[in-house]
C-alpha cells in the first residue's frame, strides 16, 4: 500500500504546472490524535502531499523514465490550519529542470485562504547516485504508474500536456 495524500489532479500541464486536490476527512484516523478535540491536518503531511503533486509533475516531464526522490525542502511556511471537511488545492510549478534534478515552487489553498507555501527540490536518482540502491518506498512513484492514471483521470485521456479548465467551484 502507498500513502497517497492527494485525491486527484484538476490541472496538469506537462513540464510546467499542476493543481491537485485533497479532501480532508475525519475518517483519517491520525486526525483523532492530532490533536484530541482539535483535529488539523499535520503540516508534515502537507509537505508530503506537495511532494507527490510536484513529484508526479516532475516525473511526467521525463515520461516517468527517471526515478524521482524528494531531495530538499527549500521552504515550508504555514499560514492557516486545515480541518476535516476542508478541500485543499495544491498548486505547483516547475521552476527549473535539468537531467539530474528539478526545482519546484508551490502553494496550498483552501477556498480563498492561503494555507502554505512549499518549495521543493527533486533528484533524478539514476543521473546522480548511479549504483546506489534505495528502497522502493523512497521514490515518489514506482515502476507501476497505475495509481497516477487514477489520479489523472479528470485530466488524462490524452490530455496530459494540455491545460484542463477546472469547472469546480471552491
Amino acid at each position: 500500500m502507498r500513502w497517497i495524500w492527494i485525491d486527484k489532479f484538476v490541472e496538469f500541464q506537462s513540464g510546467q504546472h499542476a493543481v491537485a486536490l485533497k479532501n480532508v476527512t475525519l475518517a483519517e484516523e491520525h486526525l483523532h490524535d492530532h490533536f484530541p478535540g482539535f483535529p488539523v491536518m499535520p503540516e508534515s503531511l502537507m509537505i508530503e502531499a506537495m511532494a507527490q503533486t510536484a513529484g508526479i509533475l516532475v516525473g511526467e516531464a521525463k515520461k516517468f523514465q527517471e526515478k524521482v526522490i524528494l531531495a530538499k525542502v527549500k521552504k515550508a511556511v504555514f499560514f492557516n490550519y486545515v480541518r476535516p471537511g476542508d478541500t485543499i488545492k495544491l498548486h505547483t510549478k516547475i521552476e527549473s529542470i535539468i537531467s539530474e534534478a528539478a526545482s519546484t515552487t508551490g502553494k496550498i489553498t483552501c477556498g480563498d485562504k492561503l494555507i502554505a507555501e512549499i518549495d521543493l527540490m527533486f533528484s533524478h536518482i539514476d543521473q546522480n547516485l548511479a549504483g546506489k540502491e534505495f528502497p522502493q518506498e523512497n521514490f515518489v512513484f514506482s515502476s507501476d504508474t497505475s495509481i497516477f492514471e487514477s489520479l489523472l483521470r479528470d485530466v488524462s485521456s490524452g490530455q496530459v500536456g494540455a491545460k484542463v479548465v477546472d469547472s469546480e467551484q471552491d
Binding site: 530538499k72 527549500k74 527549473s96 535539468i98 537531467s99 539530474e100 526545482s103 527540490m121 546522480n128
Partner: protein, 131 residues
C-alpha cells in the same frame, strides 16, 4: 548596466542565505561552501538554479562546480590526490578559482574547499561580462 563586484557579492550572499538557511552575515567572500557553510551535493544544484534566476544567466552543468566528475576518473586520481593530468583538467574547468594552495597538496578531500563564495562571484562576474 554592469554590476559592480560588491553588488554581485551581495546578491550571491542573498542566494546562499536562502539556499543554505544560514544567517545574513555568515557567508563572507572567503567562506567555503562545504566546510564553512555546510552545503551538501543537492545544495549545489539549488545554488545553481537560484544564481541563474538572480542574475538571469545560464549556467551549464558542471561549469560552476565541476569537481565531482573528476574524482571518478582513474586517470585523474592517484592515492587520494589529483594527478598532474587531473590538475590540468581542473585548471581548465575552474578558471575562476585560485588553485595555487590546492596545487601544493592536491588531496581530493580538500576539493570541497575550492568552492568558496569568492569563486562564485568570480564566475558570475565573468559570465556577466561575457554577455
Amino acid at each position: 548596466m554592469a554590476m559592480s563586484r560588491d553588488e554581485i557579492l551581495q546578491q550571491v550572499q542573498e542566494v546562499l542565505v536562502d539556499a543554505l538557511g544560514i544567517d545574513d552575515d555568515e557567508a563572507t567572500a572567503e567562506s567555503t561552501l562545504m566546510g564553512d557553510l555546510g552545503a551538501e551535493s543537492i545544495d549545489f544544484l539549488d545554488i545553481v538554479f537560484r544564481l541563474e534566476k538572480a542574475f538571469e544567466i545560464k549556467i551549464p552543468r558542471e561549469e560552476l562546480f565541476p569537481a565531482e566528475n573528476l574524482m571518478n576518473e582513474a586517470d585523474f586520481v592517484h592515492n587520494g590526490k589529483l594527478t598532474e593530468k587531473g590538475l590540468e583538467v581542473l585548471r581548465e574547468k575552474m578558471p575562476h578559482t585560485d588553485l595555487t594552495t590546492f596545487e601544493s597538496d592536491p588531496d581530493i578531500n580538500k576539493l570541497g574547499d575550492l568552492f568558496t563564495v569568492n569563486a562564485i562571484v568570480n564566475y558570475v562576474e565573468g559570465k556577466l561580462n561575457a554577455s
